[in-house]
């Protein structure tokens, strides 16, 4: 079932659903297989696309009976994204999540230390806590002046 690990995330195609921690497990039995996935955010609209991608790939490999199970627990966290995958995000132009998972700091509005994915400057400013997808916030770099997405730490 290793090939399932190759499926790219529909929103961020440079990393796979495995690297992102969305693909949780695969159970194969006599007449098919059950694939477990977990949403990054409860309302992530990409889940349907991911489910379709999983089914399509398994059908292409000749496995007809496929069911996709949505898991909510344990809750997905950016801590599951590997260092290699974080580097791929950065090269793609998305600042990867800062090391520590969001704590009550998010409530107090403590600034996160993060660097511009293009010029590596940490002289950056948040434009919006909510970005183009639920998992990202919008920042701009005050040195190279480029706007960029930040993968929110949850």
């Amino acid at each position: 079932m290793g090939f399932l690990s190759e499926i790219p995330d529909p929103e961020i195609p440079v990393i796979t659903i495995k690297e992102l921690g969305i693909l949780q497990g695969v159970v194969q039995n006599a007449d098919g297989c059950i694939v477990s996935i977990t949403p990054t955010y409860t309302g992530c609209p990409a889940m349907k696309a991911i489910e379709d991608d999983v089914k399509k790939m398994l059908h292409e490999k000749g496995i007809e009976k496929v069911s996709v199970k949505l898991l909510y627990s344990p809750a997905w966290t950016t801590d599951w994204i590997s260092d290699e995958a974080k580097e791929k995000l950065r090269v793609y132009g998305i600042a990867p999540p800062a090391k520590i998972t969001a704590d009550k700091g998010a409530l107090l509005g403590k600034p996160k230390i993060l660097a511009c994915p293009r010029c590596n400057s940490s002289n950056v400013e948040m434009i919006s806590q909510f970005g183009s997808t639920a998992c990202k916030a919008l920042y701009k770099c005050l040195d190279c002046k480029e706007p960029f997405d930040y993968f929110k730490c949850i």
């Binding site: 955010y41 409860t42 309302g43 609209p45 344990p74 809750a75 998010a106 909510f130 183009s132």
Partner: protein
């Protein structure tokens, strides 16, 4: 009331809260005051609707009558909805939307932190996930209120009016009935009486920090636990349910 019926109604209440407030926030989509704010409101609507889907799906499973989450969302009438009155109140001006967000997000943060300890795995799992999302919602509202309260005379007056108008719907957030009693005994539901003082402290610090005033006590509206709603819910449902009711065989 047996445990299964209580579970069904509890899941329905949580699902309806997410669905109705999510729908209200989605009404801002393309009408936000500026692009980033439009995205923020739509993002939060998505969180709420996603959570609602998980809860209505669970309600349908617990009920075991072959209904789906979509059936519960689109094929029930007003009196069968159990969402809080606060959630169905119209968006009004931006101040009304933000005060509604503040009241509800502060409530949800404390509520879901407790529900994450539930003995019911589905509730605990969704709650743990929701806590992470709601922190952002509360922070968003908490950053807007000072700007509105200390902005101009007009923004101050409008925000105070929003607080005064919506305050009457906050008492109901903490109401408990037989559903809660049955599930609290099982270690499943949250004891709301423990939440109220924490909530009021949080809300008061944001409001008073923004030169605004929280009303003292006063009459509190009630009814949603019994399916009795304000006049606004019917209109909301008429719009939200139009398509699946007009075209029952429509598929995504």
């Amino acid at each position: 009331m047996d445990k299964n019926e209580a579970l069904f109604k509890y899941a329905l209440r949580l699902g309806d809260n997410g669905l109705i407030l999510g729908h209200r926030l989605s009404e801002w989509c393309s009408k936000g005051p500026f692009l980033e704010e439009d995205l923020a409101l739509s993002n939060m609507a998505l969180d709420l609707i996603g959570r609602s889907q998980a809860m209505l799906n669970y309600a349908a499973t617990v009920e075991g009558k072959g209904r789906t989450d979509d059936d519960l969302a689109f094929k029930r009438a007003e009196r069968q909805f159990l969402n809080n009155l606060l959630h169905e109140q119209p968006n009004g001006d931006f101040a009304h939307t933000m005060i509604r967000q503040l009241f509800n997000s502060a409530f949800e943060l404390f509520f879901f932190e407790e529900l994450a300890k539930s003995k019911d795995e589905t509730f605990a799992g969704v709650a743990a996930k929701t806590v992470k999302e709601v922190k952002y919602h509360l922070r968003h509202a908490s950053e807007w209120i000072p700007r509105l309260g200390e902005g101009t005379e007009e923004s101050h007056a409008r925000t105070q009016k929003a607080i005064d108008n919506l305050w009457t719907y906050t008492g109901e957030l903490f109401e408990m009935d037989e559903v809660d009693q049955v599930l609290i005994k099982e270690g499943i539901a949250v004891d709301m009486s423990a939440l109220k003082s924490k909530w009021e402290k949080q809300v008061r610090s944001v409001i008073e920090g923004a030169t605004l005033k929280l009303p003292a006590g006063g009459f509190m509206q009630t009814g949603s636990r019994k399916g009795l709603h304000s006049e606004h819910l019917g209109f909301l449902l008429a719009e939200m349910q139009y398509l699946p009711r007009a075209y029952p065989d429509a598929k995504w």
